[in-house]
Symmetry: C2
Subunit: 150 residues, 2 copies
């Protein structure tokens, strides 16, 4: 990459781990993984991916942007549903291939497209023949069929 505004691509691993330069390590698809947790409670809301542009837009606007792998495009979280995530704090992990977003959810507070607060609404539990999932343990806060009208 030659864009002068690009993040550094190659970097000494120790410097990437302990230094003060933001140098995200994008994978072979140009993505890093991002986790959103709710400010205050720390509840894990969702996990998604960011390309370089989504990361820059998130930094510049303080509203979470992701890259949708299924749709192949940038997506401002909440652009359809109104369930915007405002960034309170952003952190990176040791090798800079993961981003932690501490967010203040707008809208009804439902980060999941199913209408639930968190995407992690089912537990893995022992079942009759191996492991299965509990039924969703969070109520929908909005009706996805009304919110995502085609």
């Amino acid at each position: 990459m030659t864009d002068q505004n690009s993040f550094p691509v190659s970097m000494d691993p120790k410097e990437r781990e302990l230094g003060t330069t933001l140098a995200p390590k994008f994978d072979s698809h140009g993505l890093v993984t991002a986790i959103a947790v709710e400010a205050g409670t720390g509840a894990v809301l969702m996990l998604a991916h960011m390309d370089e542009k989504a990361l820059r837009l998130t930094l510049e606007t303080a509203q979470v942007h992701f890259f949708s792998r299924s749709r192949g495009k940038i997506w401002r979280k909440g652009e359809t549903s109104g369930e915007v995530l405002n960034v309170v704090e952003m952190r990176v992990d040791c090798d800079q291939d993961a981003i932690l977003l501490v967010v203040d959810p707008a809208g009804t507070g439902a980060a999941c497209h199913t209408g639930r607060k968190s995407c992690f609404y089912r537990r893995v539990v022992p079942g009759k023949s191996g492991f299965e999932l509990s039924t969703p343990d969070q109520p929908p806060l909005f009706d996805p069929e009304k919110v995502y009208k085609s």
Copy 2:
């Protein structure tokens, strides 16, 4: 996959989202993303990946196993450092391509290979020319040079 113990591969998307069948959606590399958070505090400790075997070992032993993308093999978290993560609860997200591990850390409580409690020990902060990282805001709990002797 024909192994009778394998997880279901194809499934109606609605059933995968709202049903009670554990049907992890492994990516083209055969991996799902896993986040470990500390039981009690909810602190995000680390993010890594699991293949089907690592997921099964985690379920069967209640100790976190990952698949190391760099080393190309299964890795029992803490096998070298002693920083084992005991599973208190496992959750899946809506489309079952991400796993949330609620864990009780053993050892010194340092999940990160740098010796820190969490891998997310740096904040993204405004700098002189764009964004940079804060210096690590967590002390190392162990000395990685002593723990990871070659």
